[in-house]
Amino acid sequence: MAKGSRQYSLRYKYPLPIHPIDDLPPLILHNPISWAYWIYKYIRSSNNVKDKIHVDIIGNRYPRILVKDDVQMLYLWDNGFFGTGQLSRSEPTWKSRTEARLDADDSIAADKSQLTLEKVTQRRRLQRLEFKKMREQLENQLLQLRRSGGSKEQEYALLEREREALRDFKAQQSFHDELDNVATDEGQINGGENEISVREEDSELIDGNGNIKQLEALELMPVEAIFLTFALPVLDIDMSSLFTRLHAYSSGDIEYKNIHNLMIQYVSYHHYRSHGWCVRSGIKFGCDYLLYKRGPPFQHAEFCIVTMDAHTTKDYTWYSSIARVCGGARKTLVLCYVERLISEEKVMALLNKRDYAGIFSSYKINEVTYKRWVPGKNRD
């Protein structure tokens, strides 16, 4: 997934997964045909995504929202930096990292000088694992064949494939024996994720075709899922199913107190997203959100957002620890106080009518920044 610099700027061209219609033909004022063509294209075009993105919601009391398709994962990342790879720091890169780690990518393996002793060892072990796995499969097939009374020719073909696999494996082993020497001479042994020896456990990463399985899904925060359902029609789920799913396993009927937190979290998320911020989880800094001006590849987050009910008061130690963490990371702490403007009953009534816009517009954002102030530094 190496990206050239030109690709890099193209990749994050759109700030949201809903794109504007930006491929309309030029409109030439004195040429009516261009008008017709333009109108035709305009009518035919749509802002909608071609295929809505599929989400799986797993878990019970703590639902988690997953996107598993590789292309769709990437799409959500590239178009507004939504979601987090479960086995990555942010962008879901686990598979490519693992491929690199296990040298499954031949283009990397071919570069002999890059190989380290440990990598060679790793790959030999891995190939042994692969071979064992393949032999196991062939043996199973053979067993099946015999049980179902297959022909001698078929059985012969299978055995031949097994022998061939063994030959390949042996050839690779001797090839790597040579590489061993290269690597030993260079004696480069590095630490880090990519240099970890292949472990027995890695065998479970390989699928029937010898490829690395995708174990990673892109996980969306509940508020992201709401945004991509309610605000932008991107996910293949409707708001009330999503909302119900997020509150399933609450005991009995949904009560206001059970939805309050999600309401204020969403209103706050929508507020910042809708003014152009890239809003990502702030858990690393112990706050709710981080605001990036464009997105993580472009600059650091400047703001930490803590969302709270407007009537909230906490022990001072709570504020002071947040402020220290944000201050330490040189980010500005914003306390986002969300105020409900209508009664709980009215919110529930709107919920019954599935009037989500009605609900979300009934909360008001009030913000303050909170900064430690040092007298000695503010004297002139």
């Binding site: 797993i58 878990g59 019970n60 009391r61 703590y62 639902p63 988690r64 929202i65 979601g83 987090t84 790879g85 479960q86 086995l87 990555s88 686990w94 693992t98 994720e193 970890i196 472990r199 027995e200 456990e201 990463l205 174990l215 892109l218 996980e219 969306l220 925060m221 509940p222 508020v223 997020l246 396993y249 937190n261 999600l262 979290q265 989880s281 858990i283 690393k284 709710d288």
Partner: protein, 123 residues
């Protein structure tokens, strides 16, 4: 008669995370269970690829407790719960428990929990 919440999904998630993200080995779900508020709690055990603390003598087997955390739901991690985990699921004289906090933003983060008062690392 209340439902018993299934924790195998998060056990699997933490197992994958330790095994395939942090490259631990010998990661398994322990057999001992603790029945706690409609859930059966099990720990994971495993070995990290290197020492996790300078104060450790060597790589040691870690006991990992997966707990969930959400943007909009309160946590269930009480002091009583932690005491029960130490008392029932950890071998005697276990130095520490590793808390795996599974957040609903896709991240899993790990913290050491020592029972009682513990000194910080010297270095």
């Amino acid at each position: 008669m209340s439902a018993v919440y299934n924790r195998s999904e998060i056990e699997e998630l933490v197992r994958n995370n330790l095994l395939q993200f942090h490259l631990w080995t010998e990661v398994t779900v322990a057999t001992e269970t603790l029945s706690w508020k409609e859930s059966n709690i099990r720990l994971l055990t495993g070995r990290p690829p290197h020492k996790l603390s300078n104060d450790d003598e060597d790589v040691m087997t870690e006991y990992v407790l997966p707990v969930e955390m959400s943007q909009y739901k309160t946590s269930y991690l009480t002091l009583e719960f932690l005491d029960k985990i130490f008392d029932n699921l950890c071998p005697e004289n276990t130095k520490r428990l590793t808390l795996a906090i599974i957040n609903d933003d896709g991240t899993t983060v790990f913290y050491f929990v020592y029972k009682g008062i513990h000194k910080p690392k010297k270095n």
